[in-house]
Symmetry: C2
Subunit: 340 residues, 2 copies
């Protein structure tokens, strides 16, 4: 097929065209012995111990954006969900829901990106599924990835303590701004590129350190993630506005669009809570990795004070540059749909 | 929320409304300790040995049909992919892509069905993801499930041999006809209900028998599945039209619509190849289970003859009732989109 040819409904009928599509476009790119078997499930030998298992669907619009595409996102996002759970990501499944009319060129671009990102992250795509829906019943392509990782003995989250520090590996909001800037109808240009990247190699650098907990602040942004952490630990978290890394171009785009970068999606960021005496060591190691050069301590954990908070808001406060204390809730009433 | 309230885009923003939706609608139904943790991945303890890992997306239209719904299908389909791979299904992930405008009543119906079917199949939903897309960019709801199972020592497919028998556990084509009959614009009524069901309990009855290989003939139907088996084994398969179980109502609908039941989707059927001397034992055991009462031998494996076949057609032949020998290829040029 030429790049400008289109996927048709019959590519999803489960028959000859489906087999052809899978063999010629997908299997040829994702070189995996397990995937090449014709069986209904991949068989993975010699597992032992604790498994991590996760899934995410990706519906980002548009499917190509500065710094990435839906394929890179679908691999990175699921790899990161495993990595922040202290797991070593190993295997992915790939579920494609293609809207009839997607060009073979677009599909190939996405599949190449999936293959490249999987190789970079050291994971194998071992099983997949391809469906095709009518034009007007999808949006080019939606992707689901599920992932399996192994969790080594002794690696698990531990209780957050007062005095612990909150660290992030770099600038916030880049993914959100990059995707928004490439949306039809949003007439602004920016140099910001998505931070979309697999983080497992970065997190390998600190795997022997006693990190309390890690999260990737995707949909809902840094603020929503901190509220989740505050909730589950029953602790208060104070972050300092002036310490939060952000690109001037991201801040500029947020000012122009009236968006709060604390609520913008990130796809290559990790927030971690670490014991105070580990802070320097964690920072040094993160900063020695290309994905952590701008790592910074952005706040700390304190005992819960008596500020009232609703069920879905936590005890998270932002010390603003001008000295105020602003309570942060979860993202609400500000829909930025299809950001990941 | 009342049943007639609608899902809105902001239910997918990753913030407060997303958390509320997940907690109040999903977690409340799918009672699983692993799912209830707020972490990014479920942690599953004490695995050892061989794992089976699979995924499928479900885009069936309409989402409710006689005999089932997209939720029942999403659990059954993935459980069956594991079960026919000789695995014991254990854990599922659940990825929802909801079109804005889906009613809470519809969502609840599907989630109840997922919970009921998972309980029936003995599997746990341990991780999930919920996205919302704009009206006109989806079709009520698409579901992805990924599944993990364990494969006991010594359980694996083995080579198909000449003389082996081909067995199916019941009537073909019911799922395809049931879904088609409930499509808008297709003006026919039928008593046929989808066969959609988890098959792991049925297959447990024969788990100690030396089954060569198993497949669930879903999209593409029985004929496409047999062509796949013929391809991978490099053997010829001859099936007898008069031995293939089919409901008179299914045959009637096929005659009326000009469809071939050999190419209609099944969602509660398994095709297996068994050594000849095991045939009776397998049949007795299958027939003793509610999902196998109409189990039948439908054909046998022979050495490949010299009939020419294209790359995507196999060496599968149908002995017709009137004595002819019809070659069967994969489904082609007959798109029945969104059947599963």
């Amino acid at each position: 097929m030429r790049d400008e040819d289109k996927i048709e409904l019959s590519h999803g009928d489960g028959g000859k065209l489906t087999h052809q599509l899978i063999k010629e476009e997908i299997l040829s790119r994702l070189d995996s012995p397990a995937l090449l078997s014709l069986g209904d499930a991949a068989i993975l030998e010699n597992f032992s111990g604790r498994l991590a298992f996760t899934t995410d669907s990706y519906v980002v619009n548009p499917i190509f954006f500065p710094g990435g595409d839906i394929g890179k996102l679908a691999v990175s996002g699921t790899v990161n969900d495993l990595a922040v759970s202290f797991a070593t990501p190993l295997y992915l499944t790939l579920g494609l829901i293609i809207e009839a009319g997607l060009s073979f060129g677009e599909l190939r671009g996405i599949l190449d990106s999936i293959a490249k990102t999987a190789k970079e992250a050291g994971v194998k795509v071992v099983a997949g599924d391809t469906k095709v829906v009518e034009k007007g019943k999808g949006d080019k392509v939606y992707i689901n990835t599920a992932g399996i990782g192994v969790v080594s003995e002794g690696r698990h989250p531990s209780s957050i303590q007062p005095g612990d520090k909150v660290i992030i590996n770099g600038e916030i909001g880049s993914h959100g701004v990059a995707v928004l800037s490439s949306r039809q109808g949003l007439d602004f240009s920016t140099t910001v590129r998505s931070d979309c990247a697999p983080l497992n190699d970065l997190l390998n650098c600190i795997r022997d350190l006693p990190i309390r907990i890690m999260r990737d602040p995707t949909r809902g942004g840094l603020a929503t993630t901190l509220v989740e952490l505050s909730h589950m630990s029953n602790m208060e978290i104070i972050i300092n506005e002036e310490d939060i890394p952000i690109l001037p171009a991201t801040q500029g785009a947020c000012d122009m669009l009236g968006l709060d970068p604390l609520y913008l999606a990130n796809e290559g960021k990790v927030v971690m809570v670490v014991p105070k005496d580990m802070t320097e060591e964690v920072l040094i190691r993160l900063r020695s990795h290309p994905l952590g050069t701008r790592a910074a301590v952005i706040g700390e954990v304190t005992r819960k004070a008596s500020y009232p908070a609703s069920e879905y808001d936590g005890h998270v406060f932002l010390k603003t540059v001008i000295g105020g204390l602003r309570p942060l809730g979860m993202l609400t009433g500000e829909p930025l749909p299809r950001i990941c």
